[in-house]
Amino acid sequence: MPTAPAGTLYRGREGMWSWVAHRVTGVLIFFFLLVHVLDTALVRVSPEAYNAAIGTYQTPIMGLGEAGLVAAIVFHAFNGIRIILVDFWAKGPKYQKVMLWVVVGLFVVTMAGFLPRHLINVFTGGH
């Protein structure tokens, strides 16, 4: 067995890069999920312990991290629908490139709805 891939079938462009982005966002979301279940589990320790942990999520730096996390989730969600359409819709493979730009458009619209509200909460909210 070769120790390194001998050649490559990666073809670049929309198909490959959306696949790469789907993997990267998926792994990011998975590792956040592990941490997020652990921090939520602190409600079983004490209200003080939970409030201290969730307090770190309410700082500006973590607020930007949450914006990035939501961006990853929104892309993964819309591109996931695109993958389902490529698999199950007869014309899906033909329109996979168009559908990626639809995904990007929906992503921009969704983030335009989310980001201002979230960033205002992060930078001007607080107790």
């Binding site: 998926g26 589990a41 209200p47 309410q58 989730i73 969600a77 993958i83 979230h118 607080g126």
Partner: protein
């Protein structure tokens, strides 16, 4: 060579029906492929709802504290919502990372260790999360009242 009819009986009949060899691998990968798509659709609804209620409504992330969680889990709807989200997201995510490990870890030992760690993380997080949802006490008796939901003192 002239052994006569004794050898003839051992030759299969040319008309013996062709039997397709059944695969020994089962349909595991097919079911996992279907599950990723089915759970993905449900997760879009569950997670978008979760993000909207926790980050967009009211003061967003600043409104989240122990009392906020207690208020949500006082409702069976959010208990079921979060339980379903926990299980579907963990199975979906674990299966996705399993695929990535299979793709990039070429040595048997590396692949085995990574998948072992993945299974361990899955088990710990799912068991812990499920126990938390089912054993949560919204009004712990020894906690200061100002940290608790309003219905604890009422």
């Amino acid at each position: 060579m002239a052994h006569g009819t004794a050898a003839v009986a051992k030759i299969d009949s040319p008309r013996s029906p062709y039997a397709r060899r059944k695969t020994t691998r089962g349909n595991y990968e097919l079911y996992s492929w279907v599950f990723m798509r089915a759970s993905g659709v449900v997760l879009i609804v569950l997670i978008f709802g979760h993000l909207f209620v926790n980050l967009m409504v009211g003061d967003g992330v600043h409104a989240i504290d122990f009392g906020f969680v207690a208020g949500k889990w006082a409702s069976p709807l959010w208990q079921v919502w979060d339980l379903l989200m926990l299980w579907l997201a963990m199975i979906h995510g674990t299966n996705g990372v399993r695929t990535i490990i299979n793709d990039y870890a070429t040595r048997d030992l590396t692949r085995g260790i990574l998948k072992g760690l993945l299974l361990l993380a899955f088990t710990v997080v799912v068991v812990l999360g499920t126990l938390v949802i089912f054993t949560f006490d919204p009004c712990p008796p020894d906690a200061p009242a100002e940290l608790l939901a309003s219905f604890c003192t009422a």
